[in-house]
């Protein structure tokens, strides 16, 4: 019989800041990845810091690890790997020496430290630049180094305060596969890593709702904005014939509209242009802003229904 994955992060009655209106509950299981997404980087950074125990919430209780240690306690640091926004390799240090210093601060012995540093450098694709001075590292390499530093002590929970570069997505998959809990941050739909199971949608001051990846895809397809232009211009009546089209608006050089299935809309527009002997001069599929998604969600939410962020999202059908 397989064991149920443990809850590695639990927040109850959480109000992140004084401005927060609602109390939210959140649980992250081992082997799952939750992404904090919203337009306000400031709020996301604060939420991630609160979940990691770096900052105190306005109210509520956050615990981490199998033993449910309050995150503000020092002993919780062994269970949490936190990647702060804008972390850089100090001047005069190299990735190797910086990780060596941190491993010493984490209480590792010399031999254990050497092995751990070497292993994590290889895993994060930093081995080639291990002796490069900190000031010569690129932004991406600094992010990789901060990621390596956060995971050096093998924590059970990883929390990132900023979006991670795509080069680390494979490592996130590895972590999830070995049962670590991940809390990541995304400031737009484009920065949500593929490993995400659930997305916590946040406004500028509150956690609004947790949705599954499938639900988010459905929401996005409804809110996506498609812009097309034809040469010579196509009459509006011809564009209106496209099935499933909504919110059609004429723009300076063409039309903008929404469609429940962006992929089908792209195919239909291409066919329409060909059928009418027009050239498709531009086509842009714009992902919706987080604020648009939150508005869509508010409209979807039946009035008077309580939000329960602790429960997994409902299955459709």
């Amino acid at each position: 019989m397989t064991e149920a994955p443990p809850v590695l992060l639990e927040a109850q009655g959480l109000r992140v800041s004084r401005d927060s209106e609602n109390e939210a509950d959140l649980a992250v299981l081992g082997g799952s990845a939750v992404v904090l997404a919203g337009d306000s980087r400031r709020f996301l950074a604060r939420l991630a810091a609160v979940l990691a125990g770096v900052e105190r919430p306005w109210c509520g209780r956050v615990t981490a690890g199998r033993l449910g240690i309050p995150v503000c306690e020092r002993r919780a640091r062994t269970a949490i790997g936190f990647l702060p926004a804008g972390a850089r390799c100090p001047r005069g240090a190299t990735p190797s020496s910086h990780l060596g210093l941190l491993s010493a601060a984490m209480g590792m012995g010399a031999k254990q430290s050497r092995e751990a540093v070497s292993e994590v450098l290889r895993w994060c694709f930093l081995y080639e630049v291990r002796r490069t001075p900190g000031e010569a590292l690129t932004e991406e390499q600094n992010a990789q180094l901060a990621f390596a530093a956060a995971l050096l002590h093998n924590p059970s929970l990883f929390i990132s305060q900023c979006p991670l570069p795509a080069v680390l997505y494979r490592q996130l998959d590895d972590l999830r596969a070995i049962g670590k809990a991940l809390v990541l941050t995304a400031d737009g739909l484009g920065s949500i890593p593929p490993c995400a199971d659930r997305v916590v949608l946040c406004s500028g001051s509150d956690i609004r709702r947790t949705v599954s990846r499938a639900d988010l895809a459905r929401l996005c397809s409804m809110a996506v904005d498609i812009r097309v232009s034809f040469c010579p211009a196509l009459p509006r009546s011809a564009v209106e014939e496209l099935p499933g089209l909504s919110n059609l608006v004429a723009t300076d050089d063409g039309y903008s509209f929404s469609h429940p299935s962006p992929a089908a809309a792209v195919a239909s527009v291409t066919a329409l242009a060909r059928a009418n002997g027009r050239a498709l001069t531009s086509m842009e599929v714009r992902a919706p802003a987080m604020s648009t998604l939150l508005r869509e969600l508010r409209e979807e939410q039946p009035p008077g229904r309580e939000q329960d962020l602790f429960q997994p999202p409902e299955q459709e059908g």
Binding site: A45, R46, A49, V54, E55, R74, R75, R77, T78, F82, P84, A85, G86, A87, R88, C89, P90, R91, G92, A93, S97, H98, G100, L101, L102, A104, A105, M106, G107, A110, S113, G134, A149, A150, H153, Q161, C162
Partner: protein, 218 residues
């Protein structure tokens, strides 16, 4: 802890060696003091090196990018940012104490026992003041250290100014109760009190900086 201290010392040494201000603060005031106190040049050099080494080492370093990056990284570890301050103060005291030992060993006769404690304590005080004030304002740190150094040139006398003249501690503690008007025990007691206060303030500041760096996102 030894590996951690060694790694921090290496970073501090690399940072210091690359700063022109380090060499200027270390050498120029010490030479000036030796010329000014020509009669007691080794004693002046000893007391000035105990002051100048930590001042030169910590000024420029404590408000710099490297230290901020280190604090924000270490604040997340189990050890916290405390070992960083420990390493900074230890290197300042060791460096200042060792450098001042060279001219002290040239002095004839037996030195009062207080001398051996006053020199490292004054190094500790100066380092802690720089680490406390510089992250707030480089100018304020420079002003306070400059004022403490300038007091060393005040005529030897009684009262607080004589006890606050940090480079003058070691220098005047040599003279003993017969020559000076203040007993070496007073210098010793004052240096213990000042060093303790400055270390407490710098520890508070470093802890606060750890939280601040993380909240701001490094």
């Amino acid at each position: 802890m030894t590996r951690l201290f060694t790694a921090i010392w290496r970073l501090m040494a690399v940072s210091a060696a690359s700063r022109l201000s380090f060499w200027a603060v270390l050498v120029i005031p010490s030479l000036f003091a030796m010329l000014h106190f020509r009669d007691d040049a080794p004693a002046a050099a000893a007391s000035w090196l105990a002051f100048a080494f930590p001042a030169a080492l910590c000024s420029g370093w404590s408000g710099g990018e490297t230290r901020r990056a280190l604090i924000s990284s270490l604040a997340l570890t189990r050890a916290g940012a405390g070992p960083l301050l420990g390493a900074e103060l230890t290197l300042s005291v060791l460096g200042g104490g060792l450098l001042s030992l060279v001219p002290l060993s040239m002095l004839p006769g037996t030195l009062p026992w207080q001398t051996w404690f006053v020199a490292p304590l004054s190094s500790l005080f100066v380092a802690a003041v720089a680490l406390w004030l510089e992250p707030r304002s480089r100018a304020l740190s420079g002003l306070v250290l400059g004022l403490l150094a300038a007091l060393a040139y005040a005529p030897s006398g009684r009262g607080l100014p004589a006890l606050l003249a940090v480079p003058g501690y070691t220098f005047r503690a040599f003279e003993g109760p017969a020559a000076g008007r203040i007993h070496p025990d007073a210098y010793f007691a004052m240096s213990v009190v000042l060093a303790a206060c400055a270390v407490f303030l710098s520890a508070t500041r470093t802890r606060a900086l750890g939280g601040l760096c993380l909240r701001r996102g490094a």
